[in-house]
């Protein structure tokens, strides 16, 4: 089965049900609880997390370990309990990307990764020491 995502950036996109993710608590500070995953380009480096409800709302994500091989996610017990994932290794982990005019200034938010498991997604606070909200991607 597919669902239609309406996007000002991409037009109408047919998404497989598996590419639609429910965020019970939304994203921090943003509206909406249903997002679709839209691959960007062919190489899979970036993926768009696009609201199913707001055609204007989309955030680029990437998998942190392609850029930060030693990146670690540590969750507090209450956070792990809230999302029902105790080992982030069992889930898909993404970080949001801040795209700027110059690629050298692209950054990722390592403090608040997005964890997706079994069709549900959560933006969590990473308790690890070395997790800035703005880590340069191409430094």
């Amino acid at each position: 089965m597919t669902q239609t995502l309406k996007s000002t950036r991409f037009g109408d996109v047919e998404l497989a049900d598996e590419a639609v993710v429910e965020f019970p608590n939304g994203l921090i500070g943003l509206q909406g609880t249903r997002y679709g995953l839209i691959p960007h380009g062919e190489d899979g480096t970036f993926v768009w997390l696009h609201s199913m409800e707001d055609p204007d709302l989309a955030l680029p994500l990437t998998k942190p370990w392609s850029f930060f091989p030693t990146y670690e996610v540590e969750l507090s017990d209450s956070e792990a309990e809230r999302i029902g994932v105790s080992d982030p290794g069992d889930a898909e982990v993404f970080v949001t990307v801040r795209a700027t005019e110059e690629a050298k200034n692209f950054s990722a938010n390592l403090r608040a990764p997005i964890i997706i498991s079994s069709g549900r997604g959560f933006q969590v606070i990473n308790e690890a020491d070395d997790a800035p909200v703005r880590a340069l991607l191409f430094a």
């Binding site: 950036r9 590419a19 943003l30 995953l37 990307v97 403090r111």
Partner: protein
């Protein structure tokens, strides 16, 4: 804003199921205990504010390097 005075060991209750306890007061630091249903996320305000700012910046960033792929037929 509602203001109230609490001492160490005293609590406030939000609704029926969120309890915030003043655990310890030491100098200018207050240690709080939050007891909330597990579905409710609890954040330190400065982290929440910084993450919201990054989310908003990510949502209003420039285009990504390569041109977006054609809409995936069955992602």
């Amino acid at each position: 804003m509602l203001m109230m005075t609490r001492r160490a060991g005293q609590k406030i209750i939000l609704g029926d199921d969120i309890t915030i306890e003043v655990v310890e007061v030491a100098g200018n630091t207050v240690r709080l205990g939050v007891d909330a249903p597990r579905a409710i996320p609890v954040y330190r305000e400065e982290i929440w504010t910084a993450v919201r700012a990054e989310n908003e910046a990510a949502a209003s960033g420039t285009e990504l390097p390569a041109a977006p792929a054609a809409p995936p037929d069955q992602a």
